[in-house]
Each structure stands twice: as structure tokens, then as C-alpha cells.
Symmetry: C2
Subunit: 356 residues, 2 copies
């Protein structure tokens, strides 16, 4: 079968000819429909993150997938079911406590593999195999947009951790500041804008399609070149919730200053080492005297995928049309990996969904 992968030492993905996977007895065989591309894929391609399985010279890319069950094997799934796979799998030495508890998303990096990212092949192939516990059923009407379930689930988990961190008192996030107008930032704006005043920070000039989406959603665009994170409370409002999806390490610290009393910042970026000065005394004092919190969040679990399915169905119809700017057929996948001033979210298509 055909697959899109990155070979050890290469700097761009290419089409690979691989054997169709042979599912284990407890695995289903899934025919891939679409697979999204995100910043992590670009990190993997650049060789800055993850890599091939031990002993192999290539990694099949892709961790944001939707597919159709081709052969349920020994699972309780049905042929034709539309499914989305989760990303983490047990490491070579077998399931550890995190997997045994169904909380692989809480595992530290060394205690997990990640399909399409680190040590396990991804889903950018005509077929993939997976145990049922790592497949989340989605309604057929999400067959085309199901590749967004994984990124939305990332936000679901971060928002769950943030809300939990404020669950011992009366916390109602009326004002949200989303840092970053990339795909994850925009998805999160769309998820939250019905229930809060949402500000979304970026550094782009108008006209810009992400600013158009932010404003059409009813949120307010904040240009970080005019209004840095720490100035948001003064220029706009302090935020009950900050959602950081820029990977800009200063934002993790500046978010403390952007928070309202009792606020929480959910951090999702994965920056490189970077030493800089902070007024650590003032930030520490502000965390304490205003009961503020920071929570880091990575990956997501089955319940976050399930919540993401519900959330995706609630998004306005125009949103995915504006947000998904490229769906490339897998034989000419290259445009899905290019970014330009008008590109937001792209995917590779392996097959069209056909109702059975």
C-alpha cells in the first residue's frame, strides 16, 4: 500500500510503498480517509522531535486521522464504522501504569510511543491497524472532518485540566485569552466563543484569513506587536482563562500577568530551551496573592476525543469551510505540507467516505 513517511536523515516526506498491515487478533483494520497536518508533523520532518520506530529507517507520518473500519477482526466494531484513532501506544517494554489506568495522556515522554510522531508509525497510509481501545467511533457525518477530532481533543484535555484546577471554588470563565492564531488557537476560539468573551492574540497584518475567522466567530483579534500579553488586562480585560498555543516561552510567564484573580493559564506550547530574564519575585507574588494557576497539558485521552466529537458537531457550518484550506490527494500530498499566508489547516486524503 502507499504511505507518506519521512526517512531517517531526509528533510521532506515522500510516498513509500509498504506492506498492508496485518492486524493482530484483537485489532481492527482501518481504511484511512483523511489525515490532518499540524506543527508537530513539521517538527518531526525537521528532525527536531520524535523519529522512526527502533530499528527502522522511516516513520509513517500522521496522527490526526479519520478512517473506516475495513475489517473489525476480533473487535466489537462493525465494518463501515467511522473511527478516529488516539495517538499514544505502550512502549516496547509493554503497558505501564499510565496505560493500565487508561491515562496514557498523563504519561511522561519516556513512558509512551506516539503514532506518527515518536517511535510508532502514524496513520498516513491507505490502511492502519489498531486495537479497539484506541479507536473512538464518530458519527458518519464527521467522516470528512473527523481529522479535526484529535486537535480538538487536545484542547478538550487542556480545558478539562484548567477547569479542574479551579474546581474548589466558584470559577466561571467569562473572559478567555487565546495566545496564538494557528490552527489550534482558532479551533479553541471556535470552541469557547459562545460561552465567553474571547480574545485571540497573533502577529499578523490585515487582511488575513485567520483574523477574518476570529472576527466572524465574534472574538477580538489582539495584535501582539501593539498589545503584548501583559498589557491585555489594561487594554482589554484580564482573562479568567489563558490558553497558550504559541510555544513562545515568554508567553508562559506573561500569561500570569494577563490573568484575572483566580484565573488559570493552560499551557500547550513546546518551546526549545531559551534563557531569559523574568521578574520572578513579582510573578511568584502575583500567583500567590491572586490565587492564580498554571497548568501544562499534552496529548489527550479517549474521553477528550469523545468530547471533541460533540464539540465539532456544534461548530458553525461555515467554520470548517474557511478553516480547512487544503485537502490534498495522497498521491500529490505536497501542498498539505506547505504553509503560506492563506493556509490554515491542511489534510491529506487517502479515500472518500462511502456509506455502506
Amino acid at each position: 500500500m502507499d504511505a507518506i513517511g519521512i526517512e531517517r536523515g531526509a528533510d521532506e516526506p515522500r510516498l513509500l510503498e509498504l506492506p498492508r498491515p496485518e492486524p493482530a487478533p484483537e485489532e481492527a483494520l482501518v481504511r484511512t480517509l483523511r489525515v490532518g497536518v499540524d506543527g508537530t508533523d513539521h517538527e518531526v520532518i525537521a528532525g527536531n522531535h520524535g523519529g522512526p520506530p527502533d530499528g527502522e529507517d522511516h516513520l509513517v507520518l500522521g496522527h490526526e486521522a479519520v478512517g473506516v473500519v475495513e475489517d473489525p477482526g476480533g473487535t466489537d466494531l462493525g465494518a463501515g464504522d467511522v473511527v478516529v484513532p488516539t495517538v499514544r501506544r505502550p512502549p516496547a517494554d509493554g503497558p505501564n501504569e499510565y496505560f493500565e489506568r487508561g491515562e496514557a495522556d498523563m504519561a511522561p515522554p519516556e513512558a509512551t510511543l506516539e503514532r506518527g510522531i515518536d517511535g510508532a508509525h502514524g496513520f498516513m497510509s491507505e490502511y492502519f491497524a489498531s486495537p479497539e481501545e484506541y479507536l473512538v467511533a464518530v458519527p458518519p457525518e464527521l467522516a470528512s472532518l473527523g481529522f479535526l477530532v484529535e486537535p480538538v481533543s487536545i484542547s478538550e484535555k487542556a480545558l478539562e485540566l484548567a477547569a479542574a484546577a479551579r474546581s474548589s471554588f466558584d470559577w466561571r470563565p467569562e473572559t478567555v485569552l487565546v495566545l496564538g492564531n494557528g490552527a489550534l488557537g482558532l479551533l479553541t476560539v471556535a470552541m469557547l466563543v459562545d460561552d465567553a468573551d474571547v480574545y485571540c492574540l497573533g502577529r499578523r497584518d490585515r487582511p488575513d484569513p485567520t483574523i477574518d475567522i476570529i472576527e466572524r466567530l465574534g472574538a477580538t483579534y489582539v495584535d501582539s506587536r501593539e498589545t503584548p500579553v501583559s498589557a491585555v488586562p489594561e487594554v482589554h480585560e484580564p482573562a479568567d482563562l489563558v490558553y497558550e498555543a504559541t510555544g513562545h516561552a515568554r508567553h508562559a510567564f506573561e500569561s500570569i500577568e494577563a490573568l484575572a484573580p483566580g484565573g488559570v493559564a493552560a499551557l500547550l506550547g513546546v518551546p526549545d530551551p531559551w534563557t531569559f530574564e523574568v521578574d520572578g519575585g513579582r510573578l511568584h507574588e502575583e500567583l500567590v496573592l491572586e490565587n492564580k494557576a498554571l497548568v501544562g497539558s499534552v496529548n489527550s485521552g479517549v474521553r477528550h476525543f469523545e468530547a471533541a466529537v460533540d464539540r465539532l458537531r456544534e461548530l458553525p457550518g461555515w467554520f470548517p469551510e474557511s478553516f480547512v484550506t487544503e485537502v490534498a490527494p495522497y498521491r500529490s500530498f505536497e501542498p498539505a505540507f506547505r504553509s503560506g499566508p492563506t493556509s490554515i489547516k491542511s489534510a491529506v486524503e487517502f479515500a472518500r467516505y462511502e456509506e455502506r
Copy 2:
């Protein structure tokens, strides 16, 4: 009546002659038994924090009190009930949303007064008056140690916030690192040592009474001059919970490195501004990839006082005897405000409890 207060511009407390408070109709009059002294009192005395009520030239000190109801007034309390007062009171413009929700402890500094600290007289006087909602009944056997309810409640709240922050997954704090072997640090070690492996970090040489207490409790003393916070995971164990009570701003950041995956650091110190370098990229990455959290916590509410009462009753009998190193009669209160190599926790005594 006699009171211990600090006059505007003075640098040490003195005995003041003040009128006995006239309780409002809904207030009880309380005869003070004992009032503890802590670091905040020293900050107030030094003029670095808080100050007298508006328009007054002195502040009655003391926020860690226990007393006996002298006159219940219009409250449902009974004469002779042993009570502990909470610290925060509505500001001059009346109760705000935090007080209306019964969550004064979540108010930012500008939305509250603090008795004995900032803008409202404290409890270091022969009598004080208080509405019933700010008085927590304690059993008579806590009449002598009831001044420890307030500091224990501070930890109860911080631990509640920390546990809440981890409540969306299976978190069991098996290893705890307490930063600081002052009174609050030692109390917290005593609170947690039955349920976790507890390490307590300080910078004192043996022989030292705080190290003796740490070890008698069954915890491990960590000398920060030999083992800095960031080295604790390597030398000992990573901590599921870090409890910071040093006010050393670097500790707020280093605690991220001391945490186990999924861990949380509760920050309680109130440092001065201090700019220093951090590897913000690495700390940010570590928060995210290991799902770590930081929660700031200040003050405490009625439910934390109630939890503190239960907690105090569970402490081993020898602990308060070693921990409370000075109880000075109020007419010669000075030793309670002095610190020396053998002093840990001190209090001022205004009256002995007599069962009615």
C-alpha cells in the same frame, strides 16, 4: 483594655490602652485567649506589608487567634464557646462578590481587608468583636492550641487547590517536598507525613530543633546548600506535590524541576520583586510535556478552618510541645516577637481558658 499594636512609623509593637470593642447587634464579643505570631506580623511591623485602618494611626496586631465567647450578642453562639476568627473582612465599600459567595479567600488584595494585617485591627487585645460568620467553633480541648488553626487552615486551602488541580486524573501524592522549615513548613510536614514520603528543605546546620522535629515526624531533612531544589529528584525522588513556604522566588520556578510527571506545586510565599534568569523554554516545555501544574494560594476560608480543627486533633501530642517554643503573657509580650536559633512558633497569651 490592653492591646498590642504597631503605630504608624514605629518599628516595634507596644502595649496600647484602647476602649473595649462595642459589638454591633449581630456580633459576638470574644475574650482573647492566645494569638500566634508569624512572618506576616514581622512584615507588618517592618512596614513592608499592610498597615492601620484608614484614618487611624495604629494597627492592633494578630491574625492567628483563639478566644472564648464572652457575650454572644445577637449570634447563635453560646457564652463560653471556644472560637477561632477568620482573617478577611469586607472593605470599606461593603461586601463584594467574593464575600457574597463566602469565598473571601479568593479575593484579590484590593477587594479585602485583613484583620491584624491590612486595614482592620487584629486580635491581639483582651477582647475582640466579630460577626458569627467569621467565627469557627473549636472543641474546648483546642483552647490552648487553637491559635494554630489559622496557619493550618492556610495549608488546608493550598492542599485543596493542589488536589483540585489534579482531580481530572488519578493523582495520589506519594512523595511530597516541603520547601521551608519555618513554622508553616513544619506544620505541613506534620499534616502530610502519615500519608506520604515527605522531604523538608531548609538551610540550617545540625543540631537544630526544626531538623529534630522533621526527623521525629518521620520526614527527611534536605539541606538546600547541598541539594538544591532542582536536584531533589536525582538525590531523593521526584515529588508529586511541592509545597513552597519559603518566599524565595527562585523556588517557584525550580519547583517545576522537582515535580514528578503530573505533579503540582502549591506556592504560598510572598516575595519582593526580583529579576533573575530562568531557562524559560525548558521550564515551559517541562510543564507541558509532563502535565505539571503550579497553583498560588493565599488566605483560607471557613471550610479550611474546619478542616484545620480536625487536622490539629490528629497531630501527635509531642508535636505542639516541641513546636510551640514561646507563649508570652501579653504584658511582657516581647519574647514572642523575637526569633532565635531555638525559636519556632510563638504566641501571646491574653487569658487562660477556664471551663464554665
